[in-house]
């Protein structure tokens, strides 16, 4: 039996014992231990041993930790840094490539981190943010799924009164059309005007610069405006107490508060809040009219799940009685028919990244994009680190002799590791410094591209700087670890004898890393190309209407009926104007949704409704499939309706033409006179929804199709007409194709951001390749010399040198294809109308990567191939 004392104690003893004494004392201890174990058993011996070890922990026996090491350390560290700087200075090319690659990687990483930080910070400015929930409405009515932000007006008050969990609630209501706000001479069309309950500032914590948040929105005809808006209307005069004239009726609203300008990271932006009491809509008690966004402030510790569960009873109690009025059946039958209706809670903090409901106040982002960007940042950093490792291991052969000499002179492996790590930490420090400056300078332009106002505030936060320092160290150590451990493992005898070649082992690892770099780059190239292809596809897709050359003028409701008609006629008289129309709705977008059913049928369906005039279809060039357009020659057309193909399908009949359908809420009946071809009036992410057209002769929008040449002159002409027919009204217009493009802004931004970082990743990968190619050419100088002497041509040599890399790029390409394919298929699944993943994208990416690789390598290989062999072979 082997009798040995407990290992940890022994190790502890070895650690603290003075090295001169330790073998002898350990011997004594072991001898005693064995003897005791024999006489009194192992347990007793163990205890005695522990006691002895503890009692040995005393001044005479302890080794000195302090003096020795501190002296050694400073000197050693100093020497590390000196050597590091000398090495960098000696090898400027490698150092440059390394630093450049790392700083590009780090800059990208910083920008992405700032972006992600910004995305995650939405709505965190509210002190009670974690207790604020938005109520959403979800339903499934007549086989149409609805998930919307809008809720009925009485919901907020009822929730506060009936549920103990709810501490407070506030509603906002957005005007779908802009409002003209006037003060003295100034008249501006403001589109960020909301109605808000008096409790608005109890729930949200927008800071007020002037006015009392508790009373600001209590009285009718009062308003809170932003700093910028106050500046716009009142200049430097105090805004409080002044009256702004709101809307066409020019109702004076007293300014009772000025709120600090909203940061970009809140999920909705207002320029003006009118008190809810200013209009009667807030008192509406219809539980089936949705127009309000309801926010609930829950009590501390209240559970949102339990509250959500109680909504079911709320629906039964209040919405139930309304159902027969809208659907002609009781709530029970309504549900039995497969319909659903209910409310749910969304945490305020989740709105920006997780919510994608109908009628969002502003387009939200998506957590997936945050993940994708994070992944890209990670990859770029990884690529930069790989470069670093690659170059350092490649250079190892050159430094092998140095390592050999150091080891012979008594350098410990640990101090060699220390030296190499120090070198890479110095490099990464320099790179971080450069990257910080670059990120700071690039921040504004990055903000433009990504469409966010990202502040560099993060850069001065102490925790960020600390994290940065830690990160730099980690990158330095990580990037330097492989060369450090690899180089320090060289055996001095072999190295000094010159045995060490560029070992196959290390070149294998280098090749793997190069393959990985190109794999990542090619994947990114393919993804970027496909994002752009999808965008181009979406833009070029036949929408079912001609979106080009249509000018849309806003604010027609401010013209009297006769003014509208006269203006429209004047437009049509212009030679440049092909057609003109007045409507309440304009594609893209839809505001009204109502339930219709065939008079003869039990069940109906939800249709979007466009209220348009006689000329809408020809102006938009929407194709009529069957029947006819609204016509002045039929006086009965006020009760006529046009349906699109999707609507025909929803209402469930083969041949709808001539059928009578009824609007369930009002009981009005319409005769179907025409079927129009489906056209896209929403983002291509969605399938085309059922749509109906009803006739009107007035509207909010005036649209005109104009000649494609000399557009600006035409616009000027139209503007002067507008001034003639609508004096004092601001002329506001957009082009319809711009509005359609806006639907793809998120994807466009993603495309841009993608392409930028893809470009950077490729640059980083190429820098690495350049370094490697230089090194390889250097290593093979003699070989190339001999080959040339033996008669190889320059072309042969170039092919030889480029061939190695070509193989690697091709392997990487093969790996990238499936990965990119699956990634993009997953992304494209989010679109109802999507482009095919075509072969040429892959070919282009592969050939592109290969070309870039060749270009990078060619400079070095041509230089090597053209060199005079005499120079390389002269000295042996």
């Amino acid at each position: 039996m082997k009798l040995l004392p407990p290992k940890p104690l022994l190790r502890f003893f070895r650690w603290f014992c003075h090295p001169d004494l330790h073998p002898f004392i350990e011997g004594d201890l072991l001898e005693l231990y064995k003897e005791r174990a024999k006489i009194r058993g192992k347990r007793e011996a163990n205890i005695r041993f522990a006691l002895d070890v503890l009692l040995l922990f005393r001044p005479g026996i302890l080794r000195s930790f302090h003096q020795h090491q501190s002296v050694n350390h400073t000197a050693m560290l100093k020497s590390y840094f000196t050597i590091a700087f000398r090495n960098l200075a000696k090898r400027k090319f490698y150092a440059g490539i390394n630093i450049l690659g790392l700083s590009i990687g780090l800059t990208s990483c910083f920008l992405i981190v700032l972006y992600i930080h910004h995305e995650l910070s939405y709505d965190t400015m509210h002190t009670k943010a974690d207790r604020i929930y938005r109520v959403g409405m979800k339903g499934n009515i007549a086989d149409q799924k609805i998930d919307a932000t809008v809720t009925p007006a009485p919901l907020a008050v009822t929730a506060v009164e009936e549920f103990p969990e709810v501490e407070n609630a506030t509603r906002i209501c957005h005007f779908l059309n802009a409002q003209i706000i006037r003060y003295g001479e100034t008249a501006i069309n403001e589109d960020q005007v909301f109605l808000a309950d008096s409790t608005f500032f109890d729930v949200f914590s927008f800071p007020l610069l002037a006015g009392d948040p508790a009373t600001a929105l209590v009285k009718p005809n009062t308003a809170v405006i932003t700093e910028t808006m106050a500046q716009k209307y009142f200049g430097n005069e105090p805004a409080l107490g002044k009256a702004l004239l709101v809307g066409d009726e020019q109702v004076p609203h007293e300014v009772t508060g000025v709120v600090k300008d909203l940061p970009s990271n809140v999920h909705f932006h207002f320029s003006m809040l009118r008190s809810m009491a200013s209009l009667g809509v807030g008192l509406n008690d219809d539980w089936f009219e949705h127009g309000f966004i309801t926010y609930l402030l829950l009590r501390e510790g209240a559970s949102s799940e339990s509250l959500e569960a109680k909504f079911l009873g709320l629906v039964e109690k209040y919405v139930g009685p309304e159902i027969p009025r809208y659907f002609g059946v009781s709530l029970e039958t309504f549900i039995q028919q497969g319909n659903q209706y209910g409310y749910f809670l969304q945490p305020l903090l989740d709105i920006h990244l997780y919510s994608n409901l109908d009628q969002e106040l502003e387009p939200n982002s998506d957590i997936t994009y945050v993940y994708i960007l994070g992944l890209i940042a990670f990859f770029i950093i990884l690529l930069a680190c790989i470069n670093f490792m690659n170059l350092a291991t490649a250079r190892s052969a050159n430094r092998a002799k140095e390592v050999g000499v150091r080891k012979t002179l008594g350098s410990l492996r640990s101090s060699l590791v220390g030296q190499f790590i120090t070198e890479s930490v110095v490099l990464s420090m320099i790179a971080t410094g450069l990257a910080l400056v670059a990120a700071y300078l690039l921040l504004p332009s990055f903000g433009n591209i990504s469409g966010k106002e990202i502040s560099g505030e993060l850069f001065v936060q102490p925790w960020f700087l600390l994290a940065l320092l830690g990160f730099t160290l980690v990158v330095g150590i990580f990037a330097g670890s492989y060369p450090a451990f690899y180089l320090s493992s060289f055996r001095p005898v072999e190295v000094l004898k010159g045995k060490l070649t560029t070992g196959t082992k290390s070149s294998g690892i280098r090749n793997t890393l190069v393959v990985f770099q190109f794999f990542a780059s090619i994947t990114l190239i393919i993804c970027t190309l496909l994002v752009y292809q999808q965008l181009a596809y979406a833009r070029a897709k036949n929408l079912g209407l001609t979106k080009e050359n249509v000018i849309i003028m806003y604010g027609a409701q401010r013209l009297t009926d006769s003014q509208q008609t006269a203006f429209k006629q004047a437009l049509l008289n212009e030679s440049q104007v092909v057609n003109a129309s007045i409507s309440y709705d304009i594609p893209p977008g839809s505001m009204l949704r109502t339930i219709y059913r065939k008079t003869s049928a039990e069940k109906g369906g939800t249709l979007h409704v466009y209220e348009v005039d006689y000329d809408f279809l020809p102006t938009m060039q929407i194709e009529l499939l069957d029947g006819r357009n609204f016509s002045r020659s039929f006086s009965t057309d006020t009760a006529a309706i046009l349906l699109n193909e999707a609507a025909v399908e929803t209402l469930g009949s083969e041949n709808m033409l001539g059928e009578e359908i009824v609007e369930t809420s009002t009981g009005r009946t319409y005769r179907v006179v025409g079927i129009v071809k489906d056209f896209n009036y929403e983002s291509l992410r969605h399938e085309i929804q059922p749509l109906a057209f009803t006739l009107t002769t007035q509207g909010w929008y005036l649209s005109a199709r104009i000649d494609s040449d000399n557009v600006s002159a035409t616009v000027n002409q139209i503007e002067s007409l507008w001034e003639q027919y609508a004096p004092d009204q601001p002329f506001q217009y957009t082009f319809m194709d711009d509005n359609y493009d806006a639907l793809f802004r998120a994807e466009q931004r993603l495309g841009k951001v993608f392409s930028i970082f893809t470009g950077l990743a490729i640059v980083v990968a190429c820098l690495g390749l350049l370094g490697l190619a230089t090194f390889m050419a250097e290593q093979r100088t003699k070989e190339i010399g001999i080959r040339k002497v033996m008669g190889a041509s320059a072309t042969n040599i170039i092919i030889l040198l480029s061939g190695d890399f070509t193989k690697l790029v091709i392997i990487a390409f093969g790996m990238a294809i499936p990965v990119a394919y699956y990634l993009m298929q997953w992304w494209l699944e989010g679109f109802a109308y999507r482009t095919n993943i075509s072969l040429w994208v892959f070919v282009l990416a592969g050939v592109g990567a290969l070309l870039i690789a060749w270009l990078t390598v060619s400079w070095q290989s041509i230089k090597a191939a053209l060199a005079n062999p005499v120079d390389s072979l002269r000295n042996e």
Partner: protein, 113 residues
């Protein structure tokens, strides 16, 4: 100024080293003291005393043979130096002088108790 400084335990250790003569190393010294004086000695106390004595120049040490039961660790043997012997003698003579100087009476009182 005192010529030689020797604590009680140090003196015991030195004397024991003398007793053991060429067999004096950690464990044997410890056992010898424990046996003769009937007191327990910790390895720590012993080793630090030995180190002190060696630093003062009273003892010197040399590495001994490697044995099985010590798992290959060498023994460290101690012996008294000439200076150490002088110190011991000095201590002894001062003690003796002190003993001799005690008046009989002072000692007798003790017996009366």
């Amino acid at each position: 100024m005192r010529k030689h400084q020797l604590g009680e335990f140090e003196e015991v250790v030195m004397l024991t080293v003398g007793v053991l003569y060429q067999e004096a190393y950690g464990v044997s010294i410890k056992k010898e003291i424990e046996e003769r004086l009937d007191r327990s000695v910790s390895v720590g106390a012993l080793q630090s005393a030995l180190k002190r004595l060696e630093n003062k120049g009273y003892l010197r040490s040399y590495a001994g043979e490697v044995t099985q039961e010590r798992a290959g660790r060498p023994k460290r043997y101690f012996e008294i130096t000439a200076y150490g012997k002088q110190a011991l003698e000095y201590v002894r003579s001062t003690r003796n002088a002190l003993w001799d100087a005690i008046p009989k009476v002072a000692l007798d009182i003790k017996y009366l108790r």
